[in-house]
C-alpha cells in the first residue's frame, strides 16, 4: 500500500516561477583577466538573444582578475538562464545578481550642452544642484560631469535637453554590495 504520509502529492509541486522578474538586474561578474573574455561574454549574449543595457569593465585589486558590471532588463530576459549560461564560460569565476536595496550603484556621465552668455549660468546652477562639476567651458558650449544613480543622470538629462544637448556619454553602472561582505 502507498503510505500517503511518506509520499509527495504531485499537486503540491509548483514550478519554479519568476523566470522573468520584471525588474532591472545588475550583474557583477568576476572574470579571469585573459584575452578574449569580453568577446566570449558579448558573443554569448548575442547568440542567446540577450540584450545588454549597460556594460563596464575594469581591473580589480587582483591584477589576474577583472570585474564586469552589466545591467539588463529582467522583464525581457530570463535572468536565471542568463546567469547559468554565463557560469558555463570557463573564464567566469563568480557572478552576483546584486539586490537593488543592498547595493550602491554609480554611473558617470558627461553632458556637452549648447549655451550662450545667459544660459551658461543657468546650466551651472543646475549642475550645482545635482552636485555635478563643470569640466569645460567654451564660448558656445559647456561640459558637465554628473555622477550618481541612473535616475539622477536621467533627470539631469531631461533638464538640460531643452538648452540643446550636443552630446552625452555614459559609462554604464558600476556597483558594489553594501556592508562588509564582498560583492
Amino acid at each position: 500500500m502507498v503510505d500517503t504520509n511518506e509520499i509527495l502529492s504531485l499537486d503540491e509541486l509548483e514550478a519554479a516561477g519568476n523566470i522573468h522578474t520584471g525588474r532591472k538586474h545588475v550583474l557583477s561578474i568576476l572574470v579571469e583577466n585573459k584575452p578574449g573574455v569580453l568577446t566570449r561574454i558579448s558573443g554569448l549574449f548575442t547568440r542567446r538573444g540577450f540584450n545588454i543595457d549597460t556594460l563596464s569593465v575594469g581591473p580589480t585589486d587582483d591584477e589576474r582578475i577583472s570585474r564586469i558590471t552589466l545591467t539588463l532588463d529582467g522583464a525581457v530576459h530570463p535572468i536565471d538562464q542568463v546567469t547559468k549560461q554565463l557560469h558555463k564560460l570557463v573564464n567566469v569565476l563568480k557572478i552576483k545578481d546584486l539586490e537593488p536595496s543592498e547595493t550602491v550603484a554609480r554611473e558617470l556621465a558627461l553632458f556637452k550642452v549648447s549655451c550662450d552668455g545667459q544660459t551658461r549660468s543657468e546650466i551651472r546652477e543646475l549642475a550645482e544642484v545635482f552636485r555635478g562639476k563643470v569640466v569645460d567651458v567654451g564660448r558656445r558650449s559647456i561640459i558637465v560631469e554628473i555622477t550618481g544613480e541612473r535616475s539622477k543622470i536621467e533627470a539631469f538629462e531631461r533638464l538640460v535637453r531643452p538648452y540643446g544637448l550636443v552630446e552625452m556619454i555614459r559609462t554604464g553602472e558600476v556597483a558594489i554590495a553594501r556592508g562588509r561582505e564582498e560583492t
Binding site: 500500500m1 502507498v2 503510505d3 511518506e6 509520499i7 509527495l8 502529492s9 504531485l10 509541486l13 509548483e14 514550478a15 519554479a16 516561477g17 523566470i19 572574470v31 579571469e32 584575452p35 578574449g36 568577446t39 566570449r40 558573443g43 554569448l44 547568440r47 536565471d80 538562464q81 547559468k84 549560461q85 557560469h87 558555463k88 564560460l89 570557463v90 573564464n91 567566469v92 569565476l93
Partner: protein, 564 residues
C-alpha cells in the same frame, strides 16, 4: 624538447592511441613530431572527415577524440565537426595550426581567426601565446572536454611557438578556478523526486544522450525496472535502455512512436534524465505534456528550466543521481499495481499503433525493410553510424539498440556527411564489432572521399546506401507542407539520365567491393553475403523512391496530433 614533442607526450599521458587529421603548412612541426611519436595518426581526406571520425571514436569509446588540422582552410573545415560536437555534447579536442605570431593579424597566407570563428561553438578554446604553457593547456583541454557536460575544446597553436624549445615536465593536475562542474545531486531533491515518482499514477521516464555520456545505463535500467515505469529515449539516447524490452515504449519526438508521444502527452509526471526538451521532442511547446509535473536531472544547470520549467530540478552526474534515486525509491512503500491502468492505456496504444509500413509489391525494396534486414543479419549487435535524413529516422525506428554507444548519429546539428567518417572513428574505437553506415544517396556524397581512408586503414566497414534518388526528407516536407512543389530534391534524373554516380563503380575505383541490390526477395541473403565477406563493402540498395517517414508530429503541432 620542442613544444610539439611535448604535445605528443601529453597525448600519450592522456591515453590517446589514435588521432585523426590532415597536415598543412602551419602544422608542419606537429606532423614532424608524429614521425617519432608512436601515436596512430589516421590520414583522412578532408578535415571535416577527421573531426567527425574523432566524434565517432568518442561516441563509441566514451574517451576524448582528437583531431588535427592546419591553419586557415584546415581550421574552417573543422567548424562543422566542432559545432556538431557542441550540439551533441561529444568530447573532442581539436588542434589547429596557426600562422607565425609575427604574421598574426596581417592576413598572412592561410591565416584565419580560428579562435574568433569557433568561439560561439566550443565548450572552451585556448590560443597558445607562450609555448611553455602548452602542456598544462592540453591537459586542461582534455579535462574540460571530458568532464561535466562533455564538448569540444580547441587549441590554436602558432607555427613558431610550436617549434620553440621548452622544458617539459609531466603535468599532474589542472587548475581551473572558473570550471567546477557539479556531480552529486542535491540529496533532498533526490528524495523529493523519489516521492514524486511513488505518488505518480501516470509516470514516464524520458532519457536522453546524457545517460549515455554519463555511463548511467545500468542505473537507468535499475530505476525503470524497480518502479515498473514506462521508458522512452530520445534519438540521442537510443541504447541507454535496451530496446527489445517490454517496458520500452519506443523513441519519442517528431518520428517517435505514438505510444511514447501519447504517454508523454497524458503523463502526470515526466522524469527527464540527460535530455533537453528539444523542439523535435516537444512539438508545440505550449501544448507539451499539459498535465505533467517535471523532474529534470541534468549535469548542465543551464538546461534546467530552459524550455520547460522543472518542478524538481536535480543538477549533477546522471550515474550518481540515478543510483541514489533508486535507493530512495526502494526505501518507500510503493504499490506497483497503481500503474496497472496506465500500462493498460499504453498497451492499447502499442497494439493500435505499432511501427509499421505498407509492404511492397514483392520486388521493390522498402527502405524500412533494409534496416530490419540489417538488424537480423547483424544479430542486433552492430554499431550503426547514420547520416542525416529519412534513412536516419528509419534506422532509429527499426534497429533496436540493446546497449549504449552502438548508435552514432548527428542529432542536434543534423550534419549530412557525418556517417561515413564517424564510422571510421567508431570502428577504430571498437575494432571487433561489425560497424555499419546507414546513409542516403544525398548524405554519402558529402564526405564520400573518406572511402579512401577506409581503404588505407583497411577497416571492414559496411556502407549501406538507401538510394531513392531523392533528398528524401526535404522531398517529404515539400510533399506534405509545401503543396508538392518539389524544388531541387531530385538527385536522379537529369535530362532523363541518371545523374548520381554509379556507386558500385565508384566503390570499385576506391578499391572497395561494391554491390547493387534491387530485388526484395533476396535482400536479406544478399546483405548477409556482403556483410560476411571480409573487408569493407559498399552496398547500393535501390529503395522505394517516394516512401515517407511515419508517424510524424507536423511542425508546430502538439504530439497528440501525430499523423501517418
Amino acid at each position: 624538447m620542442r613544444a610539439v614533442d611535448a604535445l605528443m607526450e601529453c597525448l600519450k599521458a592522456e591515453g590517446v592511441d589514435v588521432v585523426f587529421g590532415y597536415p598543412g603548412g602551419a602544422n608542419l612541426p606537429t606532423y614532424d613530431a608524429f614521425v617519432d611519436a608512436g601515436i596512430h595518426h589516421v590520414l583522412v581526406r578532408h578535415e571535416a572527415g577527421g573531426g567527425h571520425a574523432a566524434e565517432g571514436y568518442a561516441k563509441v569509446t566514451g574517451k576524448v577524440g582528437v583531431s588535427f588540422g592546419t591553419s586557415g582552410p584546415g581550421a574552417t573545415n573543422l567548424v562543422t565537426p566542432i559545432v556538431d560536437a557542441m550540439m551533441d555534447s561529444v568530447p573532442v579536442v581539436f588542434f589547429t595550426g596557426q600562422v607565425r605570431t609575427d604574421l598574426l593579424g596581417t592576413d598572412g597566407f592561410q591565416e584565419a581567426d580560428t579562435i574568433g570563428i569557433t568561439m560561439p561553438a566550443v565548450k572552451h578554446s585556448f590560443m597558445i601565446t607562450d609555448p611553455r604553457e602548452l602542456p598544462r593547456i592540453i591537459h586542461e583541454a582534455f579535462h574540460i572536454a571530458r568532464t561535466g557536460r562533455p564538448g569540444p575544446v580547441l587549441i590554436d597553436l602558432p607555427m613558431d611557438l610550436s617549434k620553440a624549445d621548452i622544458a617539459y615536465e609531466r603535468v599532474t593536475d589542472v587548475h581551473l578556478p572558473g570550471y567546477q562542474p557539479r556531480t552529486t545531486g542535491n540529496a533532498k531533491q533526490i528524495k523529493q523526486a523519489a516521492r514524486a515518482l511513488a505518488a505518480a499514477r501516470r509516470p514516464i521516464i524520458y532519457a536522453g544522450g546524457g545517460v549515455v555520456a554519463a555511463g548511467a545505463a545500468d542505473e537507468l535500467r535499475d530505476l525503470v525496472r524497480t518502479g515498473k515505469f514506462p521508458i522512452t529515449c530520445t534519438l540521442m539516447g537510443l541504447g541507454a535502455y535496451p530496446a527489445p524490452d517490454e517496458q520500452w515504449v519506443g523513441m519519442l519526438g517528431m518520428h517517435g512512436t505514438r505510444a511514447a508521444n501519447y504517454a508523454m502527452d497524458e503523463a502526470d509526471l515526466i522524469c527527464a534524465v540527460g535530455a533537453r526538451f528539444d523542439d523535435r521532442i516537444t512539438g508545440k511547446l505550449s501544448e507539451f505534456a499539459p498535465r505533467a509535473k517535471f523532474i529534470h536531472i541534468d549535469v548542465d544547470p543551464a538546461e534546467i528550466s530552459k524550455n520547460i520549467p522543472a518542478h524538481i530540478p536535480i543538477v549533477g552526474d546522471a550515474k550518481q543521481i540515478l543510483g541514489k534515486l533508486v535507493d530512495e525509491y526502494r526505501a518507500l512503500e510503493t504499490d506497483a499495481g497503481r500503474l496497472d491502468p496506465w500500462w493498460q492505456r499504453i498497451h492499447t496504444w502499442q497494439e493500435r499503433h505499432p511501427l509499421t509500413y505498407e509492404p511492397g509489391d514483392g520486388h521493390e525494396i522498402k527502405p524500412q525493410s533494409v534496416i530490419e534486414a540489417i538488424y537480423r543479419v547483424t544479430g542486433g549487435d552492430a554499431i550503426v553510424c547514420s547520416d542525416v535524413g529519412q534513412h536516419q529516422m528509419w534506422a532509429a525506428q527499426y534497429y533496436h539498440f540493446p546497449e549504449p554507444r552502438r548508435w552514432v548519429n548527428s542529432g542536434g546539428l543534423g550534419t549530412m556527411g557525418f556517417g561515413l567518417p564517424a564510422a571510421i572513428g567508431a570502428q577504430m574505437g571498437d575494432p571487433e564489432r561489425t560497424t555499419v553506415v546507414v546513409t542516403g544517396d544525398g548524405s554519402i556524397q558529402m564526405n564520400i572521399q573518406e572511402l579512401a581512408t577506409i581503404k588505407q586503414e583497411n577497416l571492414p566497414i559496411k556502407v549501406v546506401v538507401l538510394n531513392n534518388g531523392y533528398l528524401g526528407m526535404v522531398r517529404q516536407w515539400q510533399e506534405l507542407f509545401w503543396q508538392e512543389r518539389y524544388s531541387h530534391v531530385d538527385m536522379n534524373t537529369f535530362g532523363g539520365e541518371e545523374a548520381s554516380p554509379d556507386f558500385v563503380k565508384l566503390a570499385d575505383a576506391y578499391g572497395i567491393r561494391g554491390v547493387r541490390l534491387t530485388e526484395a526477395a533476396s535482400l536479406e541473403d544478399d546483405l548477409r553475403a556482403a556483410f560476411e565477406a571480409e573487408g569493407p563493402a559498399f552496398i547500393d540498395v535501390r529503395v522505394t523512391r517516394d516512401e515517407k517517414v511515419y508517424p510524424m508530429i507536423a511542425p508546430g503541432e502538439p504530439a497528440r496530433n501525430m499523423v501517418g
